[in-house]
Symmetry: C2
Subunit: 297 residues, 2 copies
């Protein structure tokens, strides 16, 4: 079991200037270090504006390699502050192959591992299937010097299967860099239901798997390049919850560095008295491998 | 898509007298009918006290067959009120084979189907593995004249796999008869976390599957036959939520008939604009059929 440590979510807005954005990320990480954090999580695609609002071939210019400029700069900071950093990169992996990738920088600055977003959304304003090839690796936590991080990315957060596979493979904590927001044409009640649904389904993963969870979302309004489109109001709302889904730290729609202590002994206590993993009916789960179950005859 | 209808959860306490308990159930169902409900859900094992606090061979005397006295009386009421009723029976299925079974009575009084609890708990005060053989059928919704009911039972509610399989097989609503409560030795903070975890994980199933959900829990304190045991304070807290996990009706620890309208067009709207089912990575879910994933070499 890892030792307890403080984790932080760096919730910030993004501009058109990648260097300004990286500066915002790094300033937040330094603040997190000052709060005693040993793990810092950045929002999804924090280096750039959310370019997936439209399908634009010019946006591929924003992609980088791993290792590359972002991982080098953040790796140096990770080593300097002795912190683990979960970053997010628009990764060019090969000719015509791009991924939406979380990179985990260990607290000595080395790249501990990466996770290429497995579930990729495609809906108006979130045109990600145009840009990103879905990841091909299974859901495996990344070992670091402070614990095994079950890192996934945004749309993954709606899928209980993904969280479960991370837990089965030994994740100590679930981590979701995210970029989700409101269509400003939706009314306040609908916006409120969407935010609550987003937080609730993730807290549900924490509960079902006895794991603490960190969700770090970007914030700020970003206009769409398409004049006819209303743009996206990224809702912030980053949070850290414990292994019973209890909220430990939570943001609103302002920029913030949120931190909380992760207590892994809590997970161990829950595993003993609420033994969900003892009772999984793996003999009856076969149809989870289907997209749709046919009617039984 | 089914038509919208009102559903009700009949939250009541149980005594040592099975006939008094059935009377409480039937009175609640009549109240639900007066509220316009076309579906009534009863708590788990509502006919009896929660006999699983200890392992006692005499408790097998409480078992009945299906069909049997409970399904006959409730079937008559279902036909009279033209309501679908989800009941719960300690079922004797064969010699030495007993199940914790939900029975679905259609609104013409016939038995529409049954569900034998698949995930069976065993922990201090909830000694269910002593009494119940786990169900052997896959997770299939029960077709009724008002819709397909994804009925599961209590401990099942902690397992995202079960809810997902019901959704994949076409369930219109998730339904959980339940008997869960507090160890009175736990402090208030722990009790609060447990209740919130229970509600949150189920609301998460609603969100992940775009389905409304009804959880009906028993309430009231029941002493343990074991003098050294503190007994269980069943926490009530039955609730009905919509397809974004939004609470539509919710009880506290008092007896109550809770009702709310289920709007199935909401499910259809969500399926179109939050298309989780389009993007499930069934190519990468194979290890959900394992109890534990080995380290990757």
């Amino acid at each position: 079991m890892p030792e307890a440590f403080t984790a932080a979510a760096i919730q910030h807005a993004c501009t058109d200037d990648p260097d300004v954005n990286l500066e915002a990320s790094m300033t937040g990480i330094e603040q997190a270090a000052a709060q005693g954090a040993r793990l810092a999580v950045l929002p999804e695609l924090h280096r750039t504006r959310y370019f997936c609002q439209t399908e634009d071939t010019r946006a591929f210019d924003l992609a980088e390699t791993i290792p590359g400029d972002t991982t080098e700069q953040l790796g140096d900071l990770a080593a300097e502050l002795e912190m683990v950093i979960v970053a997010s990169v628009f990764e060019q992996a090969g000719n015509g192959v791009f991924h939406n990738t979380a990179v985990i920088l260990d607290n000595d600055g080395r790249i501990a591992g990466r996770y290429r977003k497995m579930h990729v959304p495609q809906d108006p304003g979130f045109e990600e299937k145009f840009y990103f090839t879905p990841g091909q690796e299974a859901f495996r936590p990344v070992p670091t010097r402070i614990g095994k991080l079950g890192v996934m990315v945004c749309w993954d957060q709606w899928f209980p299967e993904a969280a479960r596979l991370m837990a089965l493979a030994g994740a100590d904590v679930l981590v979701y860099p995210s970029a989700i927001g409101w269509d400003v044409n939706d009314d306040e009640d609908e916006q409120s239901r969407q935010f609550d649904a987003w937080q609730t389904v993730q807290r549900g993963h924490a509960v079902a798997n006895h794991l603490p969870l960190i969700a770090c979302n970007r914030t700020g309004f970003e206009r769409s390049p398409d004049e006819l489109d209303p743009g996206i109001a990224f809702w912030g709302g980053s949070f850290i919850c414990g292994a019973q889904g209890e909220i430990l730290a939570e943001g609103d729609d302002r920029e913030a560095v949120l931190s909380a202590e992760l207590d892994f002994s809590h997970t161990e206590q829950l595993r003993r008295i609420w033994p969900f993993f003892r009772d999984r009916r793996v003999d009856s789960y076969q149809d989870l491998l289907e997209l749709h179950r046919e009617e039984q005859q």
